[in-house]
């Protein structure tokens, strides 16, 4: 990632901080007609997040014949979010194929394909639909390398569009990351920008371990620069996306956009926030977070998931252990409430927004 923060503390990685209206989005939105990504190796181009993912998948399919895409509606339709649009046409039905409508079957057969030497990339249509595959993911996929004592690898990627902000009906806006982060043997990542989407999907596919790839679905339509020439940052690294001095705020996926909005507002009020994009949820790259907290003395962790037994809780506990003497205030969490994801008309109340992040920032500063 070449587009880091500037010396003035404003980010160059995000040009669009608006979130999709909850009133107009449907649960199966088509991408706006966009240009086909045909990257050349030296190019930097503006691409929508979904198109960047599509370009990354195309690169992975082209690089390695063992890469397969499998899932529901990913063939001629290109997926309900059109992330795989055109790929079946380009690579054929043996490389990119529709499966029967059965999530456990998708992951279970992907395990068998990985045993055979393939590198399956499964699409789970929505976050709330992953649970029929929970047993195959946590009991089978996650443990398969361990049970084979390293003699079999499981290079399986499971793509999961997740999170809210799209006004969808129930089971279509959840953030189930913590269930999987709790499971040894899995790796979890979540890109927040088109550039990361492009690079991280390729890195995930090249990993010999199973990777759950959480795609913040509200970001699919947001454009940003994709640097096709830059080598990818390590898959499991976190990154400072805006420098600041007074409070560190950490999040992943669409929450990074909220944190950047909060930082903009805070700056107008004279408060300097340092924003960190986690990128990797398991393992978590703590070095930038600890370094930041040693500078600011205050940490607010935000996510769209309920806070109880969450990634936010894990970060709060770990930073408290590792940077206790640097902290001027308790680590505060800003999360969804510990309730089911509400009807969409209440999602803006349920999901943390910039105001709730700033409320926590104020509390941290009050210590």
């Amino acid at each position: 990632m070449s587009t880091e923060t500037t010396s003035t503390g404003t980010t160059t990685t995000e040009t669009n901080t608006g979130l999709t209206s909850t009133d107009t989005a449907s649960t199966e939105p088509a991408n706006p007609k966009a240009e086909t990504a045909e990257p050349t190796s030296t190019e930097i181009r503006e691409l929508a997040f979904g198109k960047a993912l599509n370009a990354g998948l195309r690169m992975a399919l082209g690089d390695n014949d063992q890469v397969l895409l499998m899932g529901e509606d990913i063939g001629p339709l290109g997926g309900v979010f059109r992330v795989t649009e055109g790929l079946q046409e380009e690579f054929g039905t043996k490389r990119v194929f529709d499966t029967p409508l059965a999530e456990s079957g998708i992951v279970g057969t992907a395990i068998g394909l990985a045993m055979r030497g393939y590198r399956p990339v499964c699409e789970i249509q929505f976050d709330g639909f992953i649970f029929p595959a929970f047993d195959q993911i946590t009991t089978q996929l996650a443990k398969m390398t361990s049970r084979h004592e390293g003699q079999v690898s499981m290079p399986v990627v499971i793509r999961v569009p997740y999170g809210g902000h799209i006004g969808a009906v129930e089971h279509h806006q959840e953030s189930p990351e913590a269930y999987f982060a709790h499971t040894p043997g899995l790796r979890l990542v979540s890109p927040s920008t088109p550039n990361d989407a492009y690079w991280m999907i390729q890195e995930a596919i090249s990993s010999n371990d199973p990777v759950l790839f959480f795609e913040p679905k509200s970001r699919y339509w947001n454009k940003g620069p994709v640097d096709f020439s830059a080598s990818a940052a390590p898959l499991h690294s976190s990154r400072v996306v805006r420098t600041g001095t007074e409070v560190t705020v950490v999040g992943h996926g669409a929450m990074v956009t909220v944190l950047l909005q909060a930082a903009e507002v805070a700056a107008t009020e004279g408060t300097s926030l340092e924003v960190i994009d986690l990128r990797s949820l398991s393992p978590i790259d703590y070095a930038p977070i600890i370094a930041s907290v040693q500078k600011t003395g205050r940490l607010v962790v935000a996510s769209e998931a309920p806070g109880f037994v969450s990634i936010s809780s894990e970060i709060a506990a770990t930073v408290t252990e590792k940077a206790f003497y640097s902290l001027e205030a308790p680590v505060l969490r800003v999360t969804a409430y510990d309730t089911p994801f509400p009807p969409a008309k209440l999602e803006t109340t349920y999901l943390p927004d910039a105001d709730r992040v700033l409320e926590a920032v104020d509390r941290a500063l009050a210590y």
Partner: protein
């Protein structure tokens, strides 16, 4: 569940070769077997029953955490395993000890799993494609189906050469047929026309629950609803198990899609050593199945072909030696090293594993050998 008229039986319970219409199409597979092949079937079954008893005893003596006995199911397993070809892949459940042995697996590798020394224990690639046991019922049906999809993608089947065309056989039980994963495996196998045989051992009891709770129709009919032809066999007849599996595997590898075999058999022993069958099933039923014992039946057949006492005595001695050796090596198994906790959780380096492993090593070292 009563046997239906379609049940394939090549040997009657008293060991007489059957020649009725149902048997006729399978008899050529039996005719192609040599005397040595037949002797090997007997040897496989007798050795299995003997080490199975040894392992059960080892558990009773506190040397194993668990043992799932296969007593009574030897014919279903030996016949089907001997029907596989070298290039085939086998996905077992957790009771297919003789299948593993026939594929070249050291039974001690199964012991490591049951003794708590390993959670897996062997490499399928160096054990003639005999994959790991799966203790969560039915999960392996999907792995087998995915593997068979890969064989299709690779073009390593349906070339017309049964000596090289690959196929998959997956073992599961009557209880597992109620698992969603088995139904999903049927769906995927039918949809992708995989070169695959679903081999169901209906041993009539899922721990304490009779098969009538799992299904109100004969289970071989169930796959037909998914578009997968099914056949029911007398699973205590090693010749039927061999011939029907051979035929169905070769049909699957020829490109005509998946198949299902339901082998009617009986778990004479307990589900596992944690079980007490006297609490849920009657002695009359048990004695009825013991009267149809697969080894007694096949021995009668071999004797009718002129096999003498010497061979049977020789096999009994071989089985005894095999089991004594297994016991000796079981007791010699070392406790795994502490580092094994962390070594293969991931294929690639992982910071959490590194940190926790080092912490544990330091912690243990802090006792100076006096923990």
């Amino acid at each position: 569940m009563a046997e239906t008229v379609q049940t394939v039986q090549l040997l009657s319970a008293d060991g007489v070769l059957q020649t009725d219409d149902t048997a006729a199409e399978y008899l050529p597979y039996v005719d192609a077997l040599s005397d040595d092949d037949l002797r090997q079937f007997h040897r496989d079954m007798v050795i299995t029953r003997r080490f199975d008893l040894e392992a059960t005893n080892l558990q009773r003596q506190g040397q194993l955490a668990l043992w799932p006995p296969s007593h009574g199911q030897e014919a279903a397993q030996v016949g089907s395993a001997r029907a596989t070809r070298a290039q085939d892949h086998i996905f077992p459940s957790y009771r297919e000890h003789s299948v593993g042995m026939i594929r070249g697996l050291d039974i001690l590798d199964i012991i490591t799993l049951m003794r708590g020394v390993s959670n897996g224990g062997w490499n399928p690639k160096t054990n003639n494609n005999f994959h790991l046991y799966t203790l969560v019922l039915g999960s392996q049906a999907l792995h087998a189906t995915g593997y068979a999809m890969g064989i299709n993608f690779d073009g390593d089947t349906a070339t017309g050469d049964p000596e090289t065309d690959q196929a998959v056989i997956v073992y599961f039980g009557d209880g597992a047929t109620s698992q969603g994963d088995v139904s999903e495996a049927f769906v995927f196998a039918a949809s992708f026309q995989t070169p695959q045989v679903f081999f169901l051992q209906n041993n009539h009891w899922a721990i304490s629950v009779p098969v009538s709770v799992q299904s109100r129709i004969p289970l071989y009919l169930r796959s037909q609803g998914f578009g997968i032809p099914g056949v029911q066999i007398d699973g205590n007849d090693v010749l039927a198990s061999y011939a029907v599996t051979r035929k169905n595997l070769d049909e699957a590898r020829s490109g005509s899609g998946p198949r299902m075999i339901e082998a009617l058999t009986y778990r004479v022993g307990a589900h596992t050593t944690s079980d007490d069958p006297s609490k849920y099933r009657g002695d009359i039923e048990l004695q009825g199945w013991i009267a149809r014992d697969p080894i007694t039946r096949f021995e009668a057949y071999l004797r009718s072909r002129g096999e003498g006492d010497g061979f049977f005595a020789e096999v009994a001695t071989e089985a005894q030696d095999f089991s004594a050796d297994l016991r000796r090596r079981t007791l010699a198994l070392a406790t795994p090293s502490t580092e094994k906790l962390f070594n293969h959780v991931y294929s690639e380096p992982h910071p959490v594993m590194d940190v926790q492993k080092q912490w544990l090593l330091d912690y243990e070292a802090s006792f100076g050998g006096n923990e």
